[in-house]
Subunit: 339 residues, 2 copies
DNA sequence: TTGTAAGCGTTATCAG
DNA sequence: CTGATAACGCTTACAA
């Protein structure tokens, strides 16, 4: 069968302890080092992570919980994590919660049972009871994209208030006053913040908020169709609409296409999250761009720190800046050029 | 610390062997069963997979090697695998090879060192030396999307010859005779097959093959720009172009947009792989659709079988059928309506 | 620096 | 059906 350090020790004529020490980077006499290295090559020895893990109580694997593996936001975030976890030799165990809290809870149990060394979660809701359980067991957790209220937890998020604010501000400066918003579920922190950004921008520009311009939708694939319908069926309908996440942005594009409403002409439209194809539309789409790779990288790096016992600044809440892409999907309603 | 079966045994007043048997579904006296269940609840016992793995030599984890986690094809395939692996309690360890053979080789080593129970690979090339190593170690491997020649390995692929054939046939039946193709690297089996489908279709319709209409490109993000340039710079340029994978399709869309060439009007364009946004373009894009979820599901199911020691029909090569979406991105050059 | 040996939490064998 | 006990492959005191 597979050779063990015992075999290596025998062949190298040293004790198994010495081999173990060599493998773990402790000092070993140069001569023995050579012999061990030779024996390892000879036998093609690979050490058994389970045996090691059993002793050290580390699996060198981390769990990553995301709402959907086909979601572009999630995959970009994962991409950002990879380099860091690679560097430290962690395996990434991906779990897809399909946007359901019950799955999230189940997967958390699964990962804890698997004894991963740490977990990164992009939570589907504002519910954090199961996350408390993880923390109580001593396992580090980092939340991404969505903050959970009433929970002390490391979190990497984007500055959603400002992201939305800038988008709405841009719409306003192009002359729009009637601006609809596809807001997300208000039990999702991110959604709440984006709506807050919308409100602030209107306030700062002294535009009265028309509550019927605020419609709510799930943040799921295909969600939001009725929300757009509702907005367009208003007697006094908005001239511009701001969608606050990727899925609802996509739905908007589909909706307008189906309705024969041309973006930038019949309706002005601002979306959230960037994908190459959004810029291939006619006209290209104005969007809020989030630094998705960076979120992943920061989360991974923080988790590694925590797994190494460094709890400085806990709970750390890091907010990353977003930017906006401005295109003709927002019609310019005023004569003066805008910079 | 964490309770072990020893603690459970003590509390339940039975031997540790009995607890282990209970946990593994062997017969245990009803009375003891009750006591054990109670003790487990009481202590909140979770068994240690590393200890189990050390004995049984199983990690209950599988490795999945893909060229890129942000590739829509890959994520859809992974989505298809999840249900199956969930059912059998396997964790999925995702590794991104970034389309480089050297990374693929390294990741294979990583996964073998981690002692996963099986590996699914979407190979980046036709090189299978490292895959032979896996097989020699007794670890089951299933290849997806791309077959590797001169390697006996379970493989789930799409019928690429027919997929391409149908696309080209459709283009021909709409009156085109000058059809360009963005072919992939010919050391990728999938790319070879798709080119083969193109050739066959032209042959079957008695259209002479113009070798300058065949241009090659990498199958990577952003690749293929020069390939399109080359085709359009021909004195006698094609009236239709067929891109043979997702990335080059995307590049095509970008290229035409940049050049101000309108698809379906100035040039006819047929792509590969489906994504919602392709249907939101003006006009929507004609594409070959692959059953990505099904590939994942089939691969997962086959791997589970192999991991359970069932080697029937090895090496199994399964080919899944593709379909095509036909839109106005192909201009109809003949009067008679086509069905 | 090294060898020895006890343990990590299970499973599996064997005798009862 | 159960209990006792020897592995599984490694790390880590401890003593030398």
């Amino acid at each position: 069968m597979m050779p063990t350090i015992k075999d290596v020790a025998k062949l190298a004529n040293v004790s198994i302890g010495t081999v173990s020490r060599y493998l773990n980077g402790y000092n070993v006499k140069e001569e023995n080092k050579k012999k061990i290295e030779l024996a390892i090559k000879e036998l093609d020895f690979k050490f058994n992570p389970m045996a090691k893990g059993l002793r050290t109580n580390k699996t060198f694997s981390v769990g990553v919980l995301i709402p959907s593996i086909t979601d572009i936001f999630c995959t970009q975030v994962i991409e950002g994590m990879q380099e860091t976890f690679d560097k430290y030799n962690y395996s990434i165990i991906i779990c897809d919660t399909r946007n359901k809290l019950e799955n999230e809870i189940e997967k958390v149990k699964f990962l804890m049972a698997k004894r991963v060394d740490g977990i990164i979660i992009m939570p589907v809701s504002n519910n954090g009871e199961h996350i408390k359980l993880i923390q109580n067991s001593g396992m580090p957790v980092v939340l991404i994209d969505r903050l959970i209220e009433n929970l002390s937890c490391d979190t990497i998020v984007c500055d959603n208030v400002n992201g939305a604010y800038e988008a709405v501000e841009n719409i306003i400066r192009r002359g729009h006053r009637k601006i609809g918003i596809i807001a997300g579920p208000q039990n999702i922190y991110t959604a709440k913040e984006r709506l807050e950004g919308y409100r602030r921008a209107l306030n700062d520009y002294n535009i009265e908020i028309n509550e019927s311009f605020i419609v709510y939708s799930e943040y799921k694939k295909g969600a939001g169709y009725e929300a757009y319908e509702r907005l367009l069926n208003l007697k006094d309908r908005p001239s511009a609409i701001f969608a606050t996440n990727y899925e609802t942005t996509l739905t908007g594009i589909i909706f307008f296409k189906n309705m024969g409403i041309s973006i930038g002409e019949d309706i002005s439209f601002f979306g959230y999250d960037q994908t190459e194809l959004f810029q291939m539309l006619t006209p290209p789409l104005s969007v809020v761009v989030q630094p998705m790779n960076e979120i992943g990288k920061d989360a991974a790096e923080l988790l590694v720190k925590r797994m190494n016992g460094d709890m400085s600044f806990f709970p750390l809440i890091k907010r990353l800046k977003t930017s906006i892409v401005v295109t003709d999907s927002i019609k310019n309603l005023i004569d003066t050029k805008i910079e």
